[in-house]
Symmetry: C2
């Protein structure tokens, strides 16, 4: 613990983007606190999970809710939606729950593919869900990222034609960890939504100090925002996320679900509800993530593994000059990483685990 | 408790259909046992939930799993699928998990509606999911139940034409509680699947002594079986169910999911896995349900409310000759029931709760 404490004392809070989270009364995480560190074997640095979550308050709420798992609990979902609406200053009718933002992205894909056309998306970005759009008849128009691995918003805007049904922006972007300039993104949305639907995936936005665009959906009928409890809130295994959009879109998407909000379990909803009240856990996660991220990037650069500056809980790096077999090194050390996303440059991604885990990761590469 | 104990002592086990569950070592449920009775307010007799579940072993497993809810846990889903496959004597490739059988029914609807055509279904049955098929271009051909509220299999078979993409059989049927004769159903499936897909929904089959048809999918490429953990296992709020079908169908349906098996949470999978090992809880639920069902039917008949013999955890009855306002009586007594399913005869449904709850239900009607 002492290393972390020292780091926290020495580090300016400014760098980790805590603008929107009240830090008054914030204390260094300890075992009695909302942050728990558990030994995980193998070390999972694969799926951008939060190694500290669910928060203690979420765990308590989930635990209590188990006894009611024999019941369908629509009232609880209503309560959660009300709380989410309040958080984003939108209405109940602007929100649809799903099994993680994955379900939401797929519903958007189905919703936008009622007629054939095209889908504009960055290459490389989070695109597992686009198979749904392609199966439904949308042709994928993949626009390369800039050389610094950011969305090329100007080119994406120019690519919109009369057949474009959807543009997808993952902000910050997965797997590259880059973020769009806020003003540029706002301008892009303003122009693009005059001509087509825009889906902004904010799965990792909570790790940044950029504000959510969620409340823009009240005045923009072509904007859809996807959010998840899987990342900052540490509820990946609970399967809960949500869409924000105009009530008409929400209503139409809900008809593509088997039952409105129907994939969300009582336990997940209870955990999510408690999580929304737990700003302290969020602040702690941001701090610990930033600390371990800073360490990992410095060490990777020392190993001549260049990294893209990250605004998330993962880092994108090039293995082009790395002499050993990266994946063999991970396997030997019982660490789960991902894959090569871009053959040119051998770009891969690593999730930021706990500081202890990142030290084991770096040690494995040496 | 004494009433129940006496009843259990006096009653032949034969009537409650326990043929497939080993009863050796079976003991009368007590508070130390897997069955828990909790006061629920309002009294929920609306959604065919199990008032005793989840089982104690499921609760324990779910509780332990919460700490891992920050992780995606595909290994656990694999383990659960393996266990389900073993139970039904099929392979891993025959199974797809979903958020309750509702997701499964909707996936089947989407899968069968790739081309326009028709869907044959009973009237009245469980049909919330058919909106998906209709939206996707299937015309619903609703075949009336027989006068004793059973599936009219002969007429349904005759209704199949070259455009029929799917026939749906809910067995036992919801909301009527009736069951198809096993041999008649097998013959129906044999003939119908020569010409189209057949979906058998076994959500309530565990309350009967009729065997599951799940293992028929290994030799029949046009048969799909839907099952759920929501009912006998008391996991409605956990959202977990599954399909059994030929690997090709499972594979194609999985591509209509946002991620294969992706809507199922860690907690739900843990609860389901523990439930599958808990035959004692299942046996207890069957006994208690049969006891409360017998009481309720006798009392309803005394009140001149005719009932359809039920093979499930709910009863279908006619309010045609009931003089009071049924729904007002329920509301006054803080009981949630459902609705009128068939205007002709004023047929409604009540879920079997605990014996205590059913006594309150009967009292409310007097």
């Amino acid at each position: 613990m002492s290393n972390r404490r020292n780091w926290l004392k020495q580090t300016s809070l400014g760098i980790v983007g805590l603008g929107i989270i009240p830090l008054e009364g914030f204390t260094i995480p300890t075992k009695d606190n909302s942050i728990e560190e558990e030994e995980v074997n193998p070390i999972r640095l694969r799926s951008n999970e939060n190694p500290y979550g669910p928060s203690a308050s979420a765990r308590n709420a989930m635990s209590t809710s188990i006894n009611a798992s024999n019941r369908y609990n629509w009232e609880l979902l209503d309560e959660l939606i009300g709380k989410i609406a309040q958080k984003h200053n939108v209405t109940y009718q602007n929100i649809l729950l799903g099994a993680g933002s994955s379900e939401i992205l797929n519903l958007v894909a189905l919703y936008c593919s009622k007629k054939p056309g095209n889908l504009i998306i960055a290459e490389t970005t989070f695109d597992y869900w686009t198979i749904t759009a392609e199966n439904a008849g949308l042709k994928k128009n993949a626009i390369p990222l800039t050389t610094d691995k950011k969305h090329d918003l100007a080119t994406m805007l120019n690519a919109i034609d009369a057949d474009t049904k959807l543009v997808y922006i993952c902000n910050p972007n997965n797997p590259t960890g880059t973020i769009c300039d806020n003003e540029a993104l706002l301008n892009f949305i303003k122009e693009a939504t005059k001509r087509t639907k825009v889906l902004v995936d904010e799965a990792y936005l909570d790790f940044t100090n950029q504000p959510s665009l969620a409340n823009l959906v009240t005045e923009n009928k072509n904007l859809i925002i996807a959010k998840t409890f899987s990342k900052i809130y540490g509820l990946a295994g609970a399967r809960i996320g949500y869409a924000l959009a105009h009530p008409e879109i929400i209503n139409e998407m809900s008809q593509l679900q088997f039952a409105t909000n129907g994939s969300v379990s009582t336990t997940a909803a209870s955990g999510a509800l408690a999580s929304l009240n737990d700003n302290k856990f969020v602040a702690e996660t941001i701090l610990l993530n930033a600390e371990a991220r800073k360490y990992t990037m410095e060490q990777l650069e020392n190993l001549k593994i260049p990294c893209i500056p990250s605004h998330t809980n993962f880092i994108y790096f090039s293995l082009e000059n790395y002499k050993k077999d990266f994946f063999a090194q991970l396997e030997k050390n019982n660490i789960l990483g991902t894959k090569i996303y871009e053959e040119k440059g051998k770009w891969s991604r690593i999730t930021i685990g706990t500081m202890k885990e990142m030290k084991q990761f770096i040690k494995a590469l040496k």
